[in-house]
Amino acid sequence: MPDVNITIDGKKVTAPAGTLLIEACKSVGIEVPSFCYYPNLSLQGACRMCLVKIEKMPKLQTACTTVITEGMAVSTDTPEIHQARKGMVELLLGNHPLDCPVCDAGGECELQDMTFSYGAAESRYIEPKHHREEQQWSPVVYFDRPRCILCYRCVRVCGEGMDVWALGVQNRGVSSIIAPNQEDHLECEECGMCIDICPVGALTSGAYRYKTRPWEMNHVGTPCTHCADGCKTTLGVRRSDTGMEIVRGDNRDKSGINGDFLCIKGRYAFDFVDSAERITRPLIRKDGQLTPASWEEAFQLVGRNFRETLERHGGQAIGVFGSNRTTNEENYLLQKFARVVLQTNNIDHHRTADFPALAAALAGKSGRTASMRDVYSAPAILLIGSDPTEQHPLLAWQIRNNVRLHRARLYVVNSQSIKLRRQATLFAQVPESGGEAAFIDFLAGNAAHAGENAAQLQDLRDKVRAEPELVVIFGSELRGESIARLVNALPQAKFVSLGDYANSRGAADMGLYPDLLPGYLPLDKGSSFAADWGTLPTLPGLNFLQMSESAKAGQLKALYVVGANPINRFKVDPFAFSIVRIADAMGFEVHKLVPFRRGEPADMGQSRGAQSGEADRHAVWLEAHGLEPKMSPFDPMAIFDEIQRLVPGYEVARLNLMAGNDQHTEFSGLGALQDPGLIVPANDGLFTSGTLGRYSKVLNSVSENQHRTEQTEVAAD
């Protein structure tokens, strides 16, 4: 777009044609106040706060609806403008309850800030304010009606941003009121975006209301622990009688890849940490009963058992099952522990996507993977399988808003009528079980389509091939050779393979595979690791199903499970595991968490809190043989040094990462084809999140969770 030159308060400003005046002002640090204007939502011109003086125009104009034109001369701060804004604030305060001292938004309220800026301290009115009763729309959304200033942000973010359209306006004039779609309650995705975007305390969170004053919290940014999208959530942490308490999750500074977005999980489902059923002490099985024990006792037991098993039966008798929820550094250390200390490649994790197949398909190619940011800016997207609205809410938001704001073309191939079809340029429904993979064969070939929707699929293939720039996103429906065929069929495209858990990709990248080292390097290509570590078992390890068989045959003697719950997931028989078991999972009741049920729970359950499990494992490993010298230092930064040194694809800008920004990593290893049967999708929806979700009060409280049909399998990780 060509640039346009304008003058704002005497400053010369250049901005691209089409820029809104309010944004042009912002670009040079001139703040024009607004309530109803919100970037990337439709324009309203309703609050009249952004009135500015434009030369040659008799009336003040709204900066939020004015597109800049060449030579425009603008004043943003004259007595007339100041008075206009003051007048608006006065009118708003006329009916606004001044309950700021008890309002959740007190201190974080845009109306307070405007009053502070424009000074409307005196009330000119005598008549009583309009009052209406507060409403509860859902377990997490409350609406204090008199506080609402009718900026319509909630209505728009719900409709335009979320494509949910659960909010609207009732009545007219001074009786106008925001109301939910079900008259007195919400039926929606419960994302809480309406609360987040509310400039005042009209919409408040059921999980947070009246708990604290905002300035009593510390704000701690952290990646969300639930799905694989990697949203940043800011936890409001407050000192309480029992230590520190997490009282709120939101996207306070909007600095994550999620920008404005958070779903119900990122906003509320941190509450599993407060579950009363959470185990906070080690448990040791004594006379058949799990009994609380000291950490020293627990470490000694586990270390001794590992040491004895290793000495008597060798590393092949020990299995390790890692986590999709722990950090890259933890996963790296875990596989290193398995390979160096336990001398085995028997390591696996719950695979939800075929990352090694994509790594193999992309071997030798660079720049062929897409990031979450690319999804928001790509001119065209092909989505094969998955249901991002349910499984990847941020991804769905990025796709939706790319279509809405940038007119991206979206092609959807799915066996279900997923919600994103509403944004699709073309939607092709394919048969269940195998339809997506069959589509890849069709896409890769030139044969005409013989089945249903032939004309539509043909059209889709032609259009997708003709797209000069394309991001292809696929779910676990595609595995193995289909992925290579897809990559070869679309040489112009960048790819995204969807894993299901917070760090599914990290578990794969860090080599929680029996035949792949970190960076998808096959064992026989691991000389750099062998050199660095001083040792590397060369015998390929067992995958989890093989470990299970081996245990049944009495060969596998010990299993170390970290942050995972493989039994339900892989439908193996827990009776087979008559061995030493250590469950270092998320800290919930062991028989639930690691369902070695039917009277066969784990021998030890170990707590893993909000803190890293590092210290715990450090101790285990020391006890396991006094083997510390073989291990890296237990400092995440030092481990990251080692990862950067040894793992292909992790040459990332470290400063950027440490500043809390996202970093895109490429697949640089060789990968390998894996048994597709080992990939088991999580099947989590918007309101479930495996074990974490089962212990989240909020997720279990919303009615939409109850309405959903039972997931085919309760997610277990």
Binding site: Q44, G45, R48, L91, L92, V169, G173, V174, S176
Partner: protein
């Protein structure tokens, strides 16, 4: 329905068929009905637009923009259908001219709509009539049905090979919908709230298509212009404002009727009148923007108390201050329409407001006023 009034000096153009039974199609045809449309069918679109432009016809809805000019803004080529919209949401206090046109000369509106369609290349028109004019809907709907039956509407009108569909649509009782973009929102089934402009309706209007939206009187004038000629019509008016206008007279008059403006004599209480005016605007504010939504409400609330004798001296200045804060700052002109008279009342009749102070309720009403507790300062 009100009796028709007349004045010896009137030049009857738009009202010439009033009281002549022109709602009946045959009678309308006797009175030169649909001749203009037939003429238009033989004209080039640009000729129709130029004729209307040269006649000096200006919008009769209030803003007074040159009608032919407005039509010329519609793009010739459009990927989306173009629409003609007749704004019959006449709700301005004291305005009742369109009502008479719908009541006495509905076919003139239909004819004007179709001619506008021929001028801009549209084949669909909507006649939107104020919800409170429910009793006129039958007249209008019958007129449309009759025109269809004769082949004046629908496919191949007058055997010309051209098509034009006309639909009737009733409002739901909102003054705001008289604002053209709010009317389009309403017609699309949404809340009657004005749109941000630009884009203007001529480019992006109803359902996103280029749209001509004209007042009923404007459209009813068009057939007369085509028959009488641009020059004739232009000469009837002032240099830049062609033709005649319907004026509505109501208030303290011997013969209220359609001529012009609200007229009050010195027996009317200005506070009471201000209250009635603000009640109207408060009731009709769509609520979209802050100054109109909140401002009209506080003016009304203050005036109720003031009128009943609970007024304070500072209320007078506050009401003026409040109106000033509304004037020119609202989303649409409704806020101005409320603020301007309020400021005028206080400026011109301050003494009458002061006479209501100190617990004196309205002298014109005695005890019959709405009583609110009198509040101390």
């Amino acid at each position: 329905m009100a009796d028709l009034v007349s004045h010896p000096d009137e030049i009857k153009i738009v009202s010439r068929r009033f009281g002549q039974g022109a709602t009946k199609l045959d009678r309308y045809l006797e009175l030169d009905g649909y001749k203009a449309l037939q003429k238009a069918l033989s004209m080039q679109p640009d000729d129709i637009i130029n004729t209307v432009k040269n006649s000096g016809l200006r919008g009769r809805g209030g803003a007074g923009f040159n009608t032919g000019m407005k039509w010329s803004f519609v793009p010739k080529q459009s990927p989306k259908p173009k629409y003609i919209l007749c704004n019959g949401d006449e709700s301005e206090p004291g305005t009742c001219k369109d009502r008479l046109i719908f009541e006495h000369d509905p076919h003139a509106v239909i004819e004007g709509v179709v001619i506008a369609g021929l001028a801009v290349g549209s084949t669909q028109g909507y006649i939107y009539i104020r919800g409170e004019y429910r009793y006129l809907s039958e007249i209008m709907q019958k007129a449309i049905a009759d025109a269809y039956a004769r082949g004046f509407l629908g496919q191949n009108i007058f055997g010309s090979g051209r098509d034009f569909e006309v639909y009737w649509h009733g409002g739901a009782g909102a003054y705001e919908v008289g604002e053209e973009s709010a009317l389009m929102e309403s017609l699309e089934g949404k809340r009657g709230i004005p749109r941000i402009r630009p884009p203007f309706p001529a480019v992006v209007g109803l359902w996103g298509g280029p749209t001509v939206i004209n007042n009923a009187e404007t459209l009813a004038s068009v057939p007369h212009i085509l028959l009488g000629g641009a020059e004739w019509f232009a000469n009837l008016g002032t240099p830049k404002n062609g033709g005649t206008r319907l004026f509505c007279l109501s208030g303290n008059l011997e013969r209220p009727g359609v001529y012009e403006l609200v007229v009050l004599d010195d027996t009317a209480c200005i506070v009471k009148f201000a209250l009635r005016t603000m009640k109207f605007y408060q009731h009709e504010s769509c609520g979209w923007c802050i100054p109109c939504r909140e401002g009209t409400d506080w003016l009304k609330k203050t005036l109720i108390r003031f009128h009943s004798g609970g007024g304070l001296m500072k209320d007078i200045d506050n009401m003026y201050y409040l109106s000033e804060n509304m004037l020119g700052r609202t989303f649409c002109p409704l806020g101005d329409a409320a603020a301007m008279p309020m400021m005028a009342f206080i400026k011109k009749f301050r003494q009458e407001f002061e006479d209501h102070l100190e617990g004196r309720p309205c002298a014109c009403e005695g005890a019959a006023v709405e009583q609110l507790p009198v509040m101390a300062d």
